[in-house]
Amino acid sequence: MTEIVSYALQIILIVIAFAVVVHKRNFTIIILIATFGLVAASLYIMNKAPDVAIAEVAIGSAIIPLIYVISISRQREFIVLDRAQDGFIEYGHELSGEGYEILAEFVKLYDLSLNICVDIQGKEKSLINELNVDLIIARDLQTGAYILYGKSSSVLLSKLTTMVKDKPNIRVVKIKEDKRND
């Protein structure tokens, strides 16, 4: 009986390994990797190696899928840093406000997910160069206009510029990126 189960698990392992290579959707692949870890751990237990099995479960099907989930969800995120915080984006139970509507429409156009954060310090230039912040919202104190800072190399930004062209209180500023050696 134990032998049959062990053979079945080994076949499942090979099938999962093929599925990981062949499959197209990223999040399904992560689930498959986690399953691979669990099946491998049960095989370790059957071969009387419980120590290795515990390590495999903890690393292979908990920490590594978590890291993959974060790295992949980062790819489809549009990160906005709100420096103005005065009603351009309203932080209520649900987000609202003039700026939020523009950004939500913009993000929907490209099928990205919006991530708005408020609590990073630093200069605009270094923020955009060193971190992957896509857009920084700031307010010009003299004219009261909102300024959206973004990377000059970003293709998305020119689309945003045309979107806000007929709004006089918003303008888009492109920051040139430094050339990096890495």
Binding site: I54, A55, I63, C117, S126, E130
Partner: protein
């Protein structure tokens, strides 16, 4: 096309070498090590779990290099992901507006049990399956769940790295105590005739140190990943 064909040919040749090299495996197969550990393991190391006995006593030198490897990996990751910008933390792990409440509540429910299980695996590493590395990984997973529960949680990678370095030196120090009692490095400092409970003091201490070190290291790598992706 030529590339692929040459790749397949190379793989076949390597497979042939592999089969050729394991043909006479039986000739040098011996159970000497297994028998030795089975007969003398418990009396020499005081560890019911022979795996723990091997990696904390017979092969502690290897374990030290393993711990050093982890600290080198953590240092490398932090060095790559360093930048001058001060930020409170990774408050962006999940979209704050769209994290399911059920998920957060369930994490709160599971968190203490995961932490307790991890600590159990660390402290009982010498009598049951587990040990410092496994328990440390479980504790790290439990701590990572905190990011879902409390998105405002602040973590300082530099402090974690400092604690980890100190712990690494402490592990080497605890391993070297035996030099003063027995005259050899990296073994159990207590006398061979001492009881199992006395010998267990050394095993539990080292397991706990390794467990904390591994947990901190994994948390540091994970936090660095969070900040880097931003």
């Amino acid at each position: 096309m030529i590339r692929r064909v040459s790749l397949v040919v190379m793989l076949v040749i390597i497979f042939g070498f592999f089969v050729f090299s394991i043909l006479d495996l039986e000739a040098f197969f011996s159970t000497f090590g297994k028998d030795y550990f089975f007969e003398n393991g418990l009396s020499e190391t005081g560890s019911v779990n022979l795996v723990t006995g091997i990696y904390l006593d017979y092969r502690l030198f290897d374990s030290l290099f393993e711990a050093g490897l982890l600290i080198a990996a953590v240092s490398g990751v932090t060095w790559i992901s360093q930048h001058e910008i001060t930020e409170k933390n990774a408050t962006f792990m999940l979209d704050r507006q769209s994290t399911p409440t059920l998920f957060v509540t369930f994490s709160r429910l599971v968190y203490p049990f995961m932490l307790m299980f991890g600590i159990y695996v660390i402290l009982f590493g010498h009598v049951s399956p587990g040990g410092g590395f496994q328990g440390g990984a479980i504790v790290a997973t439990a701590i990572l769940i905190l990011y879902y529960i409390d998105v405002q949680k602040a973590t300082s990678i530099d402090k974690i790295l400092t604690i980890e370095k100190i712990l690494f030196l402490t592990i080497i120090g605890v391993g070297s105590i035996s030099f003063f009692t027995k005259g050899t490095f990296f073994t159990n400092p207590f006398d061979l005739s001492a009881s199992e409970q006395v010998k267990a003091i050394y095993l539990i201490t080292l397991n706990a140190l390794i467990g904390i070190k591994v947990a901190l290291g994994l948390v540091a790598i994970f936090t660095a990943f969070l900040k880097e992706g931003r």
